[in-house]
Symmetry: C2
Subunit: 218 residues, 2 copies
């Protein structure tokens, strides 16, 4: 299909499609004449994914471009690893400020200890590792008394690990289209994050109200 | 202390402090002379909280202003409720787009059903409720097959509820300074979110690698 039809079928204005092409969010179409190209289903799929990542997950264009680059670069890798790579690209790379080298080193050691306690088969390159280091630095800095011992984090790890069994099927069907699996992994990661965080806030209110009830009974 | 000392002790430039005063993030100082005011410990505490919410949690100024307004407005409420109100102000108010009224109504019904299944003592005004509605709309829109039945969300609710018991102490010590409890509640909510999300990504990798090992054994 031509650009005009791609715009009509995707609901994305042509100016936006041209911007996405320039930013590398969309692969170029098949050239058919000077200043003319043919677009296909992969372009429609990707525009849908861009919309989901922007509108539902609120990701910046730069992050989406990084995720797509990772998806394209590792298209031929084996399934578990190429999923990890795409999900890993969702995170900002770790940048340690000059004046916080010690704080980051301490957090890195604590994360390593935690992963050892949990016995997980992950490494410092795994998605989430650097996010966790950054998050622990933030907690230490602004709520210094909160995590005094690494083992306090173990229940949180065990809990999200038990959810992973629910979230990720035990086997992949090799017949399933690879780009569908990728879409599911990336979107499943980001669209489910606000579900979990919202449930956590509601759970806190339920907990607090039980606490209050308990206090009134005394 | 004067503005200059407030700046020195907090490490926040005076231009930024003036901006925060204009935006209502800081209460005005005690006027001592024309164009002169006296600032105190509450200003230092609040500048520290602004820094945490901006730098560690990445919240926009408008959100921080909303949280502070809620904290100040409900200063005299009883402890459980005023904590909820401050945490609730972290969320964007629900705005339903004209063309998604049905999708939101469906999500609202599903959230009500879920909270009933979980048996939580919460209501549509509780923090997280509107976030959950919005998140469910996003999942339905972009991953339509993911949540076909509300009961699929129950394990996620039970899990975060079990963490709430770890996160929130069973009783509040009435002797503890109220603003310290508020700081802890707001910061504990937002600084721990990236910890949970990072652990979830790592847990997914562990799960996927076990899956792969299982497949290779066959």
């Amino acid at each position: 299909m031509r650009m005009a039809e791609l715009s009509r079928r995707s609901g994305v204005p042509t100016a936006t499609i041209k911007y996405y092409l320039r930013e590398g969010l969309l692969p170029p179409g098949e050239p058919t004449a000077p200043n003319q190209a043919e677009y296909g289903q992969q372009h429609l799929d990707r525009l849908d994914l861009v919309r989901a990542l922007r509108e539902a997950a609120g990701l910046p264009i730069a992050t989406i471009a990084r995720v797509f680059a990772a998806m394209d670069r590792h298209r031929e890798d084996t399934p578990p690893e190429y999923l990890s790579i795409a999900v890993g690209a969702l995170s900002e790379p770790l940048a340690v400020p000059e004046d916080q080298i010690e704080a980051y080193a301490r957090a890195q050691a604590q994360v390593a200890e935690l992963l050892h306690l949990l016995g997980w088969n992950v490494d410092p390159d795994s998605p989430g590792h650097d996010d966790l280091v950054r998050a622990v630095v933030g907690v230490h800095r602004f709520l210094p008394g909160l995590i005094t011992e690494t083992k306090q984090l173990v229940p949180f790890g065990r809990t999200v690990r038990s959810l992973a069994d629910v979230e990720i099927p035990e086997t992949y069907d090799p017949a399933v289209d690879r780009s569908a699996v990728l879409r599911f992994s990336v979107l499943g990661t980001v669209l489910f994050e606000p579900v979990l965080l919202a449930l956590r806030k509601l759970a806190h209110t339920d907990r607090i109200r039980h606490t209050a009830a308990w206090r009134r009974r005394r």
